[in-house]
Symmetry: C2
Subunit: 458 residues, 2 copies
C-alpha cells in the first residue's frame, strides 16, 4: 500500500528546527547557498519562514535570491497570518515589493492580504499591478476589518445547493479556508449561512432556503480583534461574517480568527509582565519602545517606596537589622499580588466569574491572603526570632506579613476589578501597579509596627 | 424578508451577561425560580453555563430542578470543552450523575466525553447504562488521548465520494465538528484524508483515492496536549488524527484542539505569574494548592536577599538613608527581568527565535539592559543627589542601577534558555526565580559599591 504522507512537508519539533537552522547557517557561512536552499526547501512553509526570519540579513538575502518569487509568495500564504506578518517585517518592504511584483499577481494579492502589515497598503501601491481588491488594507490593524477577507463563498437566498457549490468551487484554493457558505437576499442583506457539510449531504436541486441556519453573530468593520477572539473562545464561533448596514462586507476565516486569539493571549500575557506590544521584536528600538515606558513608571513607584522607608529613618538607625527584612515583607506581598492579578485577569478574559459579585471576589482574595499570611507570618516570625534572637523583631515581622498578604489579595483583585468597572481592559494593570501597593504598604506596616514597638526591639 | 437570526440564542457582551446574572440572582432571592429560569433559558448555552456556575449552590440547585436533564446535557454539549469541564466541576459529580442518568443516553455519553473531567470515568461508571464507547476516559488528562473523540468520519481507500458522505451523515449532529473524512486502507492503516469541501464538489462516483491528501501530522495517545496546541498554532493544523501502531484510534476535532491552545496559553501565563494550575478555581483549598508552593519558595529567596543586606549592616548603620534606596535598585531589576522573561517564554512558545543562537539572545538582552540601565541610572543618580544632597550616593545608586539592569536582562533570558536546553518547559521559570537573582544582585551591587566608597558617603 502506498503511503502518501511522505509527499507532505514533515512536521518537526522545535529542537529539530533549531538543528536544521544551525546546519543552514553553517552551509551559508561556507558559501554553499545552493545546499542551504536545498535543506530549507523540503521543510514545511511555517518552519521555512521561521528559519528565514532568524537568519542574519545578508544570509537571508542570499537565500531569497535563489528562491523563486512564487515560492516566497506560496510560503507566506501557507504560514499562519501572525507569523507571515513577522517574517514579512523581517524581509522589509523593499524586498517584499521586489518579490511580490515578480510573482503571480493573484497569488501576490492573497499573500499581501494574509500578511496584515501596517505597511501592506504601501507595498500594494508600489507594485506594478495595484491590488484593487485588497479593500481590507483600509482598516486599522486590530479591528475586524483588518482581519476579514473580501473573497468568501456566498449564494443567493433563492439559489440551490448546486449554485452554492459552484460559487464555492470558483474560489480556487481559497475555498478550503471556509466551512460555511453565506446566504444573501436580493438586497444583499445577510440572510444566514449553510454549513458545507450540509451542502455535501444534500441533492444538487435542494433549495438553499431549506438548509439555512441563522448566523449566531456578526461584527462590524471596527469591532476590536479582541472581541472577535472572545467570540471564538467563549461561543466557539469559528468563522465570523463582517457586516455594515446589514450588508456582508467580508468574512474572517477560522485561521485568521485563531490568529487573533493567539495574538490576544500574547498581548495579555506580555502586558501583565510589563511589556506593551509585540513579542519577539528583533529591533532594539522596538524593544526599548515596548519596555522602557513601564520601567520609567516603575521608577516613580520605587521612589514612593523609598520615600516610605525614609519616613522611618530614625527607627532604622536604632535597629539596623530591620533593613535586611524589608525585602521579605515587600517581596512576599509582590508575589501574592501578582498571583492574584494574573489569575483574575485571565479568568476575566475567559469569561469566568460571570455574575460573581466584585465584593465576593475581593472578600475571597482577602481571606486567601489572610490564610497565606498566617502561614507565612508564622514562618517568618520564627526565622526572624532565630536569626536575631529578638522575640519582638519576629513578632513585628510576622504581623506585617499577615497584613501585607491581605493587602496583596485586595490590590491584586481590586485593581483589575476597578479597571473593568471603568471600562478599561483589566490586562493593562501590569504587575507593576500592584507591586507598588504591596511595596509601599509592606514598608509602612513593617516599619510602622516596629516604630510603635521600638522599646521592645532595642 | 424573514430574518432567521432571531431564532438563534443571542451573543451578548460580558457586561450584559453580568447584568442578566444579577437579575437572575434577584429573582432567585425573591423565590421566583420560574422567572429566573425563563430569563436564563433564552441565553446562549455558553452564557447559560457560565451564569449557572457563578450562582451559589442552593440557587443553582433550585434552577437545575426546573431544567430538563436533556437541556442540561444539551448545554454541556454546546459549550466549549474547557468551560463545560469547569461548569461540571461546579455541579459536582453527584448532581452530574443524576442529570446524565435521566437524559438521552447517546446525548449523555457525548456530553460526558466533552466534559473532560478527571471524574468523568467515575460518573460514567455510576450511570445505569455504562458508557462503553467512551474509550477516551482511559487516558491521562493533558494528553492527545484525552482530547480525542472515538466517533469521526472515515471511509475505505477503495470507496467513493458517495460512501464517504454516507459515513459522514451517519454521525448525526457530531458531523459538524469535522472538516475532513479520514481514509483507511484494508488493514485499518491511515492512508490520508479528504477535505469535505472536495467531497462536496465532486461527483458521487468519484473514487476517494482521486481526492486523497496526505495527513500533515499525526500524534500518539500519549502526545502532550501542549504539543497538539503547538501544531495548531505553528502549522495551522485544525484537526488532528491520533494513531497507534499505524492504526487510527481517534480524532481531535478543531474545537477540542482550540481548547487545548487556550488552556496552554492560560497555563503559561499563570505559571509566569507564579500560579501553578487552573485559573478561576472556586474552592479555597484548590486556590491555596496552586499558589502557596511558589509563595513558600519565594520566602526562601527573600531571606537570601535579607542575608545579602545583613552582610552590609555596618555600612547601613553609618549611612541609614541607603536603606531607603534598596527597593529602587532591586525593584527596577525585578521589573526588567520579568519583562525579558515574559517576552522570551512567549516567543519560545510561538516558535520564534528558531535558529537564533542563545549567545545572540543573551547578548541582545544584556545590551538592552545596559541601554535601559544607563537611562534609569542617570535618572536615579540625579534624584538620589537632589534628595540627599550627597553626590556620592547619587553616583553609587546610578552605577548599581546600570549593573543590575544588565543582570536582569541576562537572568530574564538565561533562565528560560537554560531550562529549554535541559528539556524543561521554560514557562516553569516563574518570575519568582528571576526576581531572586535581581534582588540579591541588586543589593550586592548597591551596598557593595557603597561599602567600597563609604568614605565619600559619610
Amino acid at each position: 500500500m502506498e503511503s502518501p504522507s511522505t509527499e507532505h512537508p514533515r512536521v518537526i519539533t522545535p529542537r529539530e528546527a533549531s538543528n536544521i537552522a544551525a546546519e543552514i547557517r553553517n552551509l551559508l557561512k561556507a558559501g554553499d547557498h545552493e545546499s542551504a536552499w536545498e535543506r530549507l526547501s523540503i521543510l514545511h512553509p511555517a518552519d521555512m519562514g521561521a528559519i528565514l526570519a532568524g537568519l542574519p540579513r545578508t544570509s537571508r538575502d542570499s537565500i531569497l535570491r535563489i528562491m523563486h518569487p512564487d515560492t516566497v509568495t506560496w510560503m507566506l500564504r501557507q504560514m499562519n497570518p501572525i507569523q507571515a506578518g513577522k517574517v514579512a517585517t523581517r524581509l522589509g518592504s523593499q524586498v517584499l515589493t521586489g518579490v511580490l511584483s515578480q510573482a503571480n499577481p493573484v497569488s501576490a494579492t492573497r499573500a499581501l492580504m494574509r500578511i496584515r502589515l501596517p505597511q501592506a497598503r504601501e507595498v500594494s501601491e508600489s507594485l506594478e499591478q495595484p491590488m484593487r481588491e485588497a479593500e481590507s488594507f483600509e482598516f486599522q490593524p486590530g479591528t475586524a476589518g483588518a482581519l476579514m477577507v473580501p473573497e468568501y463563498p456566498s449564494v443567493q437566498l433563492a439559489g440551490t445547493v448546486s449554485e452554492a457549490l459552484a460559487n464555492l468551487g470558483a474560489l480556487g484554493d481559497v475555498r478550503y479556508e471556509f466551512n460555511r457558505v453565506y446566504v444573501v437576499d436580493e438586497e444583499g442583506g445577510l440572510a444566514g449561512h449553510v454549513n458545507i457539510v450540509d451542502l455535501a449531504l444534500h441533492l444538487e436541486q435542494t433549495p438553499v432556503r431549506d438548509l439555512l441556519t441563522a448566523v449566531p453573530a456578526t461584527v462590524g468593520v471596527n469591532t476590536p480583534a479582541s472581541e472577535c477572539a472572545r467570540m471564538l473562545r467563549h461561543y466557539n464561533i469559528v468563522q465570523l461574517p463582517v457586516v455594515t448596514g446589514g450588508r456582508l462586507r467580508g468574512v474572517i476565516p477560522q485561521e485568521f480568527l485563531l490568529s487573533a486569539v493567539v495574538a490576544e493571549d500574547t498581548r495579555q500575557m506580555l502586558q501583565v509582565g510589563g511589556v506593551t506590544g509585540e513579542s519577539g521584536e528583533h529591533s532594539l528600538v522596538a524593544a526599548i519602545r515596548t519596555r522602557l515606558p513601564w520601567l520609567t513608571v516603575n521608577l516613580a513607584t520605587t521612589f514612593l517606596a523609598a520615600g516610605t522607608i525614609s519616613l522611618f529613618e530614625s527607627t532604622l538607625a536604632k535597629v539596623v537589622i530591620l533593613a535586611a527584612f524589608l525585602p521579605v515583607v515587600a517581596g512576599q506581598g509582590g508575589i501574592g499580588g501578582t498571583q492574584t492579578l494574573t489569575m483574575i485577569v485571565r479568568s476575566m478574559a475567559l469569561g469566568e466569574f460571570v455574575g460573581v459579585s466584585a465584593f465576593w471576589l475581593l472578600a475571597r482574595e482577602a481571606l486567601l491572603g489572610l490564610l497565606h499570611g498566617v502561614w507565612l507570618g508564622v514562618l517568618v516570625g520564627i526565622i526572624g526570632l532565630v536569626w536575631t534572637g529578638n522575640f519582638g523583631i519576629g513578632l513585628v515581622l510576622g504581623l506585617a506579613m499577615v497584613g501585607n498578604m491581605v493587602i496583596a489579595g485586595l490590590a491584586g483583585a481590586g485593581v483589575p476589578l476597578f479597571l473593568r468597572r471603568i471600562g478599561v481592559d483589566p490586562a493593562v494593570a501590569s504587575a507593576v501597579v500592584v507591586t507598588t501597593f504591596t511595596d509601599v504598604c509592606g514598608f509602612l506596616l513593617f516599619l510602622g509596627i516596629a516604630t510603635a514597638a521600638i522599646s521592645f526591639l532595642v
